[in-house]
């Protein structure tokens, strides 16, 4: 019970600080808007070309936003020795990991909703009809991204060249998540039923389980030192 309370209080703290300082949310949301332009300009005015690329662009957008947002997960702990304060707390440190993971999932979900809406509006793509299965794919994909991202963020907070190392470590590991989510999204946007992408969802769910488990088991080793 204490474990759950501790995970919860970490989430509560991060959301509260975010709401007051608004460090991440505003900049990330604006970043999403900029991505929209970036993709459009990169692919040119051909509407069909853009529409065909939407599944990939959507996830590219999430990952880019994720690289920015996730990498900063533990920066708040660097001030005032709070990182050490966390290390001094007794009990299972993985509660901190889960709390941070939950916070990151909330952040990523907000980004995704914004991006999906922007894509629907600006690229004139119907994302409403497959909304429910799409939401499912987004959910499992987000957990996969956040699970590893939170772990690596904790690690790279203390390392030199943090901004470079974080993407270099995260992206190769995320390849399966990217492949699975883009393939599934593509199928769904083409109108295929959920059953057709079940194998991708199973892969993602399995991967999520593995990533979160490793995160829970190894977080205390990352927090130390």
């Amino acid at each position: 019970m204490t474990y759950a309370r501790r995970a919860w209080i970490i989430l509560w703290k991060d959301l509260l600080i975010e709401r007051r300082a608004k460090e991440h949310a505003n900049a990330l949301l604006f970043f999403c808007l900029l991505l929209l332009f970036l993709f459009q300009f990169a692919l040119g005015p051909d509407r069909e070309r853009l529409a065909a690329a939407v599944p990939g662009l959507l996830w590219l957008g999430f990952i880019l936003a994720g690289l920015l947002g996730l990498g900063r997960s533990f920066l708040g702990e660097r001030d005032n020795d709070c990182w050490e304060g966390l290390r001094l707390t007794p009990g299972d440190k993985s509660a901190i990991y889960l709390g941070k993971l939950a916070g990151n999932c909330v952040l990523m979900t907000a980004v995704e909703i914004i991006l999906v809406v922007l894509f629907g509006v600006f690229y004139d793509v119907d994302l409403w009809t497959p909304a429910a299965p799409l939401a499912l794919v987004l959910a499992v994909g987000t957990i996969g991204l956040a699970a590893v991202g939170t772990l690596f963020a904790a690690m790279t907070t203390q390392v030199r060249a943090r901004e470079l190392l974080f993407p270099v470590l995260l992206l190769p590991v995320q390849v399966p998540v990217l492949l699975a989510t883009v393939s599934a999204t593509q199928a769904l946007l083409l109108g295929q039923p959920l059953a057709d992408v079940a194998h991708w969802l199973k892969l993602l769910a399995g991967a999520d389980l593995v990533y979160v488990t490793i995160g829970i088991l190894t977080f205390e080793f990352v927090l130390e030192g």
Binding site: V159, A161, V168, P172, S183, V210, T218
Partner: protein
């Protein structure tokens, strides 16, 4: 002991060369370029062996905190990256005349490339941390994640694309290879494994000596 291993590896490689170029027949469809398989397949098998050892070293270190395990993980990681690079390059050379292009995003090549990137990241992480204790710890976490991710990568890429020849060695079906080719492959694989073991021991020895100064 290590010296003997080295000589054994050299012998093995010579035998492998002989088997690959002399003993094994010329492949019907692809011609002589197919012989690069005697480099490519053992290289990838050895790379996987290396990354299993990275996993073992990583878990070993976190469990015991003895630096010997970390040295194992580090050395295996370095050599694994080397052999993975070799796999990709040899695969590319094989591919040019066979498929007409230096690179295709087929399942096997893509998986190997992703593997390469994961472990280059691993080595980069190691190079950026000076404190040996922190370095061992962080590298261990990445090592574990990277290794456990291998099957996930494998499946996701395989489903995503299927252009590469169906796996004739690692596949579940009985491999339809000419026994002569199979033998040549086997000899080369043993030779590579010996070479890997030799490099690994040497590298770990160097690391141990460095630690003492």
């Amino acid at each position: 002991m290590i010296r003997a291993l080295g000589w054994l590896a050299v012998l093995g490689l010579m035998a492998g060369l002989a088997a690959g170029f002399g003993y094994a027949p010329r492949e019907a469809v692809q011609g002589n370029v197919q012989r690069i398989m005697y480099l490519h397949v053992p290289a990838v098998l050895t790379a996987y062996l290396a990354f299993v050892l990275v996993l073992a070293g990583s878990i070993g270190y976190l469990a015991t905190r003895r630096s010997g395990w970390d040295r194992l993980a580090a050395a295996a990681g370095e050599i694994g990256v080397l052999f993975t690079g070799l796999t990709i390059v040899s695969g590319s050379i094989w591919g040019k005349p066979t498929w007409g292009t230096w690179w295709t995003w087929d399942a096997r090549l893509t998986s190997t490339a992703v593997l390469f990137c994961v472990y280059v990241g691993y080595l980069l992480l190691r190079s950026l941390i000076e404190d040996p204790e922190a370095r061992a710890r962080y590298a261990a976490v990445v090592g574990i994640l990277g290794a456990v991710n291998i099957p996930i990568v494998h499946f996701s890429v395989k489903w995503w694309r299927a252009l590469h020849q169906p796996s004739t060695i690692l596949g579940p079906e009985r491999s339809p290879i000419d026994p002569a080719i199979g033998l040549a492959l086997f000899v080369n694989w043993v030779a590579f494994t010996l070479l890997f073991a030799y490099f690994l021991s040497r590298r770990m020895e160097i690391a141990r000596l460095e630690e003492q100064t």
